[in-house]
Symmetry: C2
Subunit: 355 residues, 2 copies
């Protein structure tokens, strides 16, 4: 089994180092190979996703990804910016199924912006389509406006698109995930305005007929953004397109109050996957040894479960993380009165010890 | 001065009746004319936005709108569904500037899902572009996929588009609004992925140079969805496109916990406007006399201020609403222990009395 390790920018190096440490104590046979990605790859090789990095990622069974981005790359042309690396990996590896759990850990309930009773025990799984929609749709660009009230004026445009097979495969992923949970799927669309999402709704409904044991409902994206705030626990599995999923998965993550704890997985049809924390590269705290490595460590657990067929090892990591929380260890982002503040490395060591 | 009164479906009739009552006690000279819109218009005239209704709206200085929609129209072809009326009014009247305040009233702070300290005193103004973007962009439809990995498969698509003049005019609206408030604008985009929103960011930045006294910053839409939950009071004026504005304005409204209190205004270049509550038609409570009329009454106040040039009358309504809250009157949606529960009509009467 081969793991491509791509730490990236900002706190990426620090948090990925802890996840690697945890993987190494599991007594499993992996080959791990590290490569540059993001801003650091641009600095060293002139491109955020160098050929060699992409080749490594393609050959590996799984990619363990840190984070990319830093203010200092903001002025670069779009194609050279760090986030193009992540878009390039998704597209080139065909990682169409993004799993973004929003879980509120018992001991961290107080960290949420929401009243504790609304989030305690929260456990939502957002499944975001990741290789289609307006993210990759062609044509796109700038031009003289071809028609409309401002014909002739300078204009920019993008194309939102979904084909039937793209919607079908992500719908199957959602229904199958729901079967392992509480058998409910909420499909989020904007069928009242968009052709793409009327089609989305139609196709998801059709696929749903193959899963009579799963309850499917539909919600408009604006309403979903509201209901997540109003009663997040009413959701279980949420499935949606790339753009809406980007927004709603971040909103849901923030509802938990502990985004430093949330892993993510992005899978293709052959269960090859990219695993990364839900949070970003946090350049403001990079190099200080205070970042929370738990989201990355939990991403490594997802990797073991989804791509490396090691569910038992995944369980061991997940319960070790619960143990360190129960021991009262906290990095700065989740610290509260009465708990012990630890740094990145100390937190990683504690997980290793708990395993 | 002529007002087109379009009550619509569900609770629309009840709440608009109270706003009309309030307008009538102001000793101003209006002509008010009522017409059908939404599902009720489809039932009676075969179209959610009948010719006569559109003509009335076009001739009026302002439109006072209730709400549209009901489950029973869900199966209609898209063009006949109630919400097409609102899209048709926006397009035909050129109502490009949507003002959506998210205000947390002192006495209602507890109604929010968020911890009181995060929302007490909250006062955000979301300015949403309302006639462009993927809502109206052509081409759109279904077809055999012309290219890509699933070429030939059935596909649906939409076009996101913004021209320079469309972005410029909404940016001016936002900067001018900010000048009357705390002189800060947050422009929300997805410039890291979309051509349309890289252009949006560029043009807003250019326009901002004409407002050196206003501080402009930029935020990605996914981050905005998070920051609204994390620290809503960090926002003042937010300006964004039609699609992102739809999602974020609803999210922000729900953060206040009292969506039954939030008005909205949609203006065109000649200050003609459509005024409606931020909430929907709530068919489940229609006809029961329990809906909260205050969002509609406050929408009438916005109408007086923005379209009818009666700022003093607007102030009178707004302070009357504060008075009834201070008196402890509450409709069911905002009721809490220790306050007096009243119905729709009683609430309207109380506002009239306070004026
Ligand atoms: C960095 C950016 C391109 C990316 C996205 O929009 O998908 C990020 O927000 C994410 O959710 O992984
Ligand atoms: C009803 C619908 C078409 C509309 C929109 O998406 O604009 C509504 O959600 C709104 O925000 O006014």
């Amino acid at each position: 089994m081969k793991i491509a390790v791509l730490p990236g920018d900002g706190i990426g190096t620090e948090i990925v180092a802890e996840a690697v440490k945890v993987l190494q104590v599991l007594d499993l046979q992996f080959e791990m190979e590290t490569a540059d990605v993001g801003g650091v790859a641009y600095d060293r090789h002139g491109h955020p996703l160098p050929e060699a990095t992409l080749k490594l990622a393609k050959e590996a069974d799984a990619v363990l990804f840190g984070a990319v981005g830093d203010w200092k790359y903001d002025k670069l042309e779009r194609q050279f910016r760090p986030e193009q690396a992540i878009l390039g990996l998704r597209r080139n590896l065909g990682l169409f199924a993004n799993f973004r759990p929003a879980i509120c850990y018992e001991q961290l309930t107080h960290a949420s912006s929401l009243k504790p009773e609304l989030v305690s025990g929260l456990d939502i799984l957002i499944i975001r389509e990741l290789t289609g929609d307006i993210y990759f749709g062609q044509p796109r660009g700038r031009r003289a406006s071809p028609d409309g009230a401002f014909a002739g004026a300078e204009e920019a445009f993008d194309t939102m698109r979904y084909t039937r097979p793209e919607i079908e495969r992500i719908a199957h992923v959602a229904f199958q995930a729901a079967r392992k949970r509480s058998k409910r799927v909420t499909s989020v669309d904007k069928a009242n305005v968009l052709e793409t999402f009327q089609f989305w709704k139609d196709v998801v409904t059709e696929v749903g007929q193959q899963y009579p044991d799963v309850k499917l409902d539909h919600m408009y994206v604006d309403n979903a953004a509201m209901q997540l705030v109003k009663q997040p626990k009413a959701f279980d599995v949420v499935v949606t397109g790339n753009m809406f999923g980007d927004i709603l998965s971040d909103e849901a993550a923030m509802l938990t109050g502990s985004i430093g704890m949330l892993p993510s997985a992005s899978l293709n049809a052959s269960s090859q996957g990219l695993y990364e924390p839900s949070h970003g590269s946090a350049p403001d705290i990079a190099g200080k040894g205070i970042a929370n490595p738990l989201a990355t460590i939990l991403s490594a657990a997802m990797m073991l479960r989804f791509s490396l067929n090691q569910p038992h090892a995944a369980d061991r990591i997940e319960s070790a993380v619960k143990d360190v929380l129960a021991q009262g260890l906290r990095t700065a982002d989740i610290w509260s009165e009465g708990t012990r503040k630890v740094g990145t490395r100390e937190m990683g060591d504690a997980v290793v010890a708990a395993i």
